[in-house]
């Protein structure tokens, strides 16, 4: 090989390497959450591409939601979910971020709501690994460790490497909350031997807990149900009622239960679960008006008891008037009432696949 050929070959290789590096950098700049989600799953970028294919804008946002929620960065979750893409996982995290800021009922109707699946992601034989990986986040925040642990275990089971800090951290924390340090030890030791998780793990040993972390664990521990009930895998309302039976002040659990009742249009259950002294929202006012109107209960006493404002009553009357005028059609209601519970109750239809 002549010197000139060698030089040309060298230049070609250098250009190719630069192009490949540039392409990789561009990819990372465009899909930062894809890389972070891969890291949470303990796999490299190339392994992630092999396992999940090439990302697109929608999957990048979905992975961003999962990454930020695992880090409990709710502002970032809210920002990523701000654009309503009519996707279940987007709604799930939108609702969760709102709930973490005490705004679940207030913002519920502002967004696409695929019935109860926007509150609790279904974990079953038809669920994707990604959905399963995300499903436990809400249970962890609600304080229900049995399902938080189960979903972390299942998320890990269906992940490409069958491990990953996303799951191991959650498994460690669920057991720290329940006080099972023997189980937590297993996960903390693995994390301690992973450079990216070493510091996180070391801070979770009980004798290393900061006052803030101790308080976090104690707050979560206070939410644990004290009544043992054997329940099925998909009995969210029953679980929430068991949680509330032990801790009536768990407002997040109460709001999730009430919103579950409302998204499934079960007003009888809603009225049974609703205690106006514990939580208030315009959403609940709207739902109560449908119930009271159907039961002949439109009285001042009821309005006062359920904290229903005169403005809400006036709007409800207007909604009913237009509804009747149009023979039950929603064509003249959507603009003004499209984000009301009344509109959802009368016009939202469950997708067949739901």
């Amino acid at each position: 090989m002549s010197r000139k050929t060698r030089r040309t070959l060298g230049i070609i290789l250098a250009v190719a390497a630069l192009a490949a590096g540039g392409s990789q950098l561009a990819f990372l700049a465009r899909y930062p959450y894809f890389r972070k989600y891969a890291a949470q799953n303990g796999i490299s970028l190339s392994e992630a591409r092999k396992a999940w294919g090439h990302p697109d804008k929608l999957s990048e946002v979905a992975m961003g939601l999962a990454v930020e929620a695992a880090n409990e960065n709710w502002q970032a979750v809210a920002a990523l979910a701000a654009e309503d893409r009519q996707a279940e996982v987007g709604t799930y995290y939108y609702n969760l971020a709102n709930a973490m800021q005490g705004q679940l009922p207030d913002k519920l109707m502002d967004y696409y709501q695929p019935f109860e699946r926007g509150l609790f992601l279904p974990v079953g034989s038809h669920s994707t690994p990604f959905i399963i990986a995300c499903a436990g986040d809400v249970w962890f925040e609600l304080g229900y460790m049995p399902l938080a642990e189960r979903d972390a275990m299942l998320g890990m089971l269906f992940s490409p490497a069958h491990t990953g800090s996303r799951y191991l951290r959650r498994l460690a924390e669920t057991n720290l909350v329940t006080g099972d340090f023997e189980a937590a030890s297993k996960y903390l030791r693995i994390l301690l031997n992973s450079p990216g998780d070493r510091e996180w793990a070391a801070e979770r040993f009980p004798d290393a807990w900061s006052p803030e972390y101790r308080q976090r664990i104690m707050e979560k521990r206070a939410l644990l149900p004290r009544i043992d009930l054997v329940h099925g895998m998909d009995q969210a309302p029953l679980i929430l009622r068991v949680m509330l039976g032990s801790n009536p002040s768990n407002k997040m659990a109460l709001d999730y239960l009430l919103c579950y009742d409302l998204l499934t249009k079960d007003l009888d259950a809603f009225v049974g679960d609703f205690d106006p002294s514990l939580t208030r929202s315009r959403l609940y006012e709207e739902a109560m008006l449908i119930f009271l109107a159907s039961k002949g209960g439109m009285t001042e006493d009821n309005f006062s008891h359920y904290h229903i404002s005169p403005q809400t009553i006036a709007q409800f009357n207007r909604f009913v008037t237009i509804y009747k005028q149009d023979g039950g059609s929603g064509r003249n209601l959507s603009a003004e009432f499209g984000k009301s519970y009344w509109y959802y109750f009368y016009f939202a239809a469950k997708n067949e696949k739901n």
């Binding site: 069958h162 297993k186 149900p225 043992d228 895998m233 068991v242």
Partner: protein
């Protein structure tokens, strides 16, 4: 800077980096009281009894503050000292030590420094002259709440660290497979299930493999738990409607219960399923059937049907025995109670008779029929010659101990224990002497002493075999794809 200096400097930085990267030891924290590593060494081989054909007992010291470890092993005139936190044997040295110690003890001195303070203690490993069956099969599964991914059934050679898959997800389209069981520890008579479409019970009889659909129209489900008769012609099985559920409190995690269960017999020669009135009643549940060593009886667990899940904590299974006619495959009746749930206030599961007919090993939980998530679940043994219980105080621990099996000579048994972390089952072995003395169990040794630290799967249903099974995962994959399942009627 001269060019050579620059190169040297670069090499030094690289060497330092490599030293730091390679020199980092496995961090053994957390350890001590309240963790899953309470003993000074892990696995804790202090005062255990081991067979004289077992693979090297590699272990590590769990004290994160210790340094300059030296461990000296002595048996007769043979002595070895291993330096370092990790005690990893050269196979040749371990064999020499075992040979010298057979029937006696290995004396061990552990010495290290805590800062400037020297620490040492002495302990022993008892070496039984009795060999253990050299093969162990187990399913590796994540504790995943009744779902699975990437399952495999492994056969481990206990005299070394060699393993091979005898069925795996790669060759079976990632399908569910249930655990592999030997009949009386025989490598030439065993079975397991491949679930799902095109699957079936894989029967290994005299090294010949068959795929069987063990179901007829009268059965409430396909067969679930069971065992092969010592003669190989029959199998006895339960059929179960299994419901998974969760506990909301108490750290019990998952609860699995049956809403119905019956027994049946499979005739492998006539391709027939046999059902009998005594063991197919709606008002009673029957499960976990196994043959007695002589094949003249069947042991199983039974309980009265109840309202479930509301009364799940009242479901207590007794252990009973029913005659079996090995000529016709007929289960007789009525059943005799061997261990009464009411009298003992517990629930019996997974009976296993030793191949010599002397012992009956089973598990006892507070209630229910799925003990792996019951911390209180312990092994229980009866001497069938006297009907008296055998003390297993040295065997049981504070977490679930279950899924046991016997070696073909009835001198060793293996079981899966969740001791320690409470989540992951690991295989432990104990020896039983003629007088009923049972020894402290030892954990299956691994080449890497930190193997169990990193392991995120359970060893499910460890089962001893006196010979390797004569098939592998590729063969099972071929049978799944190419061999139609034989129908039973």
């Amino acid at each position: 800077m001269r060019r050579t200096d620059a190169i040297l400097c670069g090499l030094s930085v690289l060497a330092l980096f490599l030293l730091l990267a390679c020199g980092r030891e496995y961090d053994v924290r957390p350890s001590g009281t309240g963790t899953d590593r309470t003993s000074v060494i892990f696995p804790n081989y202090q005062d255990v009894t081991i067979p004289c054909n077992i693979a090297p007992l590699n272990f590590y010291y769990t004290d994160p503050a210790g340094a300059r470890y030296a461990t000296t092993f002595t048996a007769g005139s043979v002595s070895f000292t291993v330096k370092g936190r990790e005690v990893v044997w050269k196979d040749r040295n371990w064999r020499r030590l075992l040979e010298a110690a057979a029937g006696n003890d290995i004396e061990v001195v552990s010495a290290w420094r805590e800062g400037d303070i020297p620490v040492s203690f002495r302990w022993k490993i008892h070496v039984s002259p009795d060999n253990i069956d050299p093969y162990l099969t187990y399913r590796l599964i994540e504790p995943g709440f009744e779902v699975w991914d990437d399952l495999e059934i492994i056969e481990r050679h206990l005299e070394s660290f060699e393993t091979r898959a005898i069925s795996d997800w790669r060759n079976t389209g990632n399908r569910c497979m249930n655990c592999h069981i030997h009949a009386q520890g025989r490598g030439d008579l065993s079975m397991f299930y491949l679930r799902g479409e095109g699957g079936g019970a894989i029967l290994n009889r005299d090294g010949k493999l068959r795929k069987l659909t063990l179901k007829d129209s009268l059965m409430i489900s396909p067969t679930v738990y069971g065992e092969i008769h010592p003669d190989g012609r029959f199998g006895v099985f339960s059929t179960n409607i299994i419901v998974p559920a969760m506990h909301s409190a108490g750290g019990r995690r998952m609860e699995v219960f049956d809403t119905a269960s019956d027994l049946c017999v499979a005739d492998f020669d006539a391709n027939k399923m046999l059902i009998f009135p005594e063991t197919a009643r709606k008002e009673t549940f029957e499960t976990f059937p196994v043959f007695s060593a002589d094949g003249q009886s069947v042991y199983y667990c039974t309980a009265q049907a109840r309202q479930l899940p509301a009364e799940v904590e009242l479901m207590r299974y007794s252990l009973v025995r029913i005659p079996f006619d090995a000529e016709t495959g007929t289960l007789g009746g009525p059943a005799d109670t061997v261990w009464s749930a009411a009298a003992h206030g517990g629930s019996a599961c997974h009976p296993k008779a030793s191949p010599d007919g002397r012992w009956l090993l089973f598990t006892v939980a507070a209630y229910g029929t799925f003990p792996i998530n019951h911390r209180e679940c312990n092994l229980f043994m009866l001497d069938l010659r006297t009907g008296e219980p055998v003390s297993l105080d040295l065997v049981n621990d504070d977490k679930s101990d279950t899924y046991h099996s016997w070696s073909s000579d009835s001198k060793w048994f293996v079981f899966a224990s969740k001791r320690g972390d409470g989540m992951f089952g690991k295989p432990y072995f104990s020896h039983i002497a003629e007088d009923g003395t049972v020894t402290r169990p030892f954990l299956l040794p691994q080449k890497d002493p930190h193997y169990y630290d990193k392991m995120l799967r359970s060893f499910n249903v460890p089962d001893l075999g006196n010979a390797p099974v004569r098939f592998d995962a590729r063969e099972i994959g071929r049978i799944l794809k190419e061999v139609p399942a034989e129908q039973f009627e």
